[in-house]
Amino acid sequence: MHESSKAQQIIEIVSELMTTDPTLAKKKLTKVTLEMGRPYIVSPDSLEFYFAELIKITPWPCATLSCIESKELGPELIIKSIEVDDLDTQEDLADGNHGTKKCSDQEQCDRER
């Protein structure tokens, strides 16, 4: 159950980054990579599930979470990196919707994943 709050915290952190870093203003978030050390404090599958649900109500509903194991870490969760892409259309840019419109179709979202 605490995977949902962890997923929410990941989204809060990357949302803050995406909305405050001026170099990311014309980008859309596509992927978040999370490093986890042993012993795990969350179930990776569950965390990815909650992330996929909670990201739907952000401007980047197609973004995915990828959990990877780190030998150097202890029981921690570190957001290692994000991947971003250019916003697809002028319409996206004008609306400032960061790809929401293009990704709002669930089937397309699933295909992108």
Partner: protein, 219 residues
């Protein structure tokens, strides 16, 4: 394009936890976070501890539960400030919840805040609330195998209260084996075998706790 971030997921919780700690330090309030599985005896421990502490110190309690205010009602006879947090399904307290709860407490008129976390041996391990002391209560009825199964929560505790020791024989629990299991994941924690229902088993624990409170006052 990949962008390196390298941020701890709990960075926000930890920042608020540190704000809480600063607030508690400023007011010289000693804060204990009591964690256990459901039914291990946290509220009974609070009843016994409050019976001892309230004649000596100004104490408040923050009660964390998924639903109901039953535990808070149990503590009402002590006539102390109590804040109930209902997480509505959430499996732990986080620093933001504590930050909200302390707003309604008379911080300039308190010596101790006791936080009863949501009953859970997994989730509360990750969340710093800004406490001075993390207490894990563990009942002998839970068996000797749990320290290694729930290693994170045992490893992070500064005090482990082994409760219901009066039931150890009935449950075929070897206390020394249980202590060995605890030590396999936490070499430093202070361990107190207690029965929260029996005041005479709590003396050593209460003295330890009181020393911590005094040390905070004298900082």
């Amino acid at each position: 394009m990949e962008i390196t971030v390298l941020k701890n997921v709990l960075i926000k919780n930890n920042a608020i936890g540190n704000d809480n700690r600063s607030l508690f330090n400023k007011n010289k309030i000693f804060v204990a976070n009591i964690i256990s599985s459901p039914g291990a005896g946290k509220t009974t421990l609070l009843e016994s501890t409050l019976a001892y502490l309230t004649s000596r110190y100004r104490v408040a309690v923050i009660e964390g539960d998924l639903y109901t205010s039953r535990d808070a009602k149990r503590l009402q006879p002590f006539n102390i400030p109590i804040v109930q947090i209902n997480t509505e399904g959430g499996c732990h307290l986080d620093a933001r919840m504590i930050h909200g709860a302390v707003q309604s407490l008379p911080l300039d008129n308190l010596d101790i805040i006791l936080i009863e976390n949501v009953g859970n041996l997994v989730c509360p391990a990750s969340f710093d609330l800004g406490e001075d002391l993390r207490i894990l209560m563990y009942a002998v009825t839970e068996g000797t195998d749990k320290p290694q199964k729930y290693a994170n929560i045992f490893a992070g505790a500064e005090v482990i209260l082994v409760n219901k020791v009066d039931l150890a024989d009935l449950c075929h629990i070897d206390l020394s084996e249980l202590v060995d299991e605890v030590r396999s994941v936490n070499e430093k924690a202070a361990i107190f075998p207690i029965s929260a229902l029996k005041q005479e088993t709590l003396v050593e624990w209460q003295q330890f706790f009181e020393e911590k409170v005094k040390a905070k006052k004298n900082e």
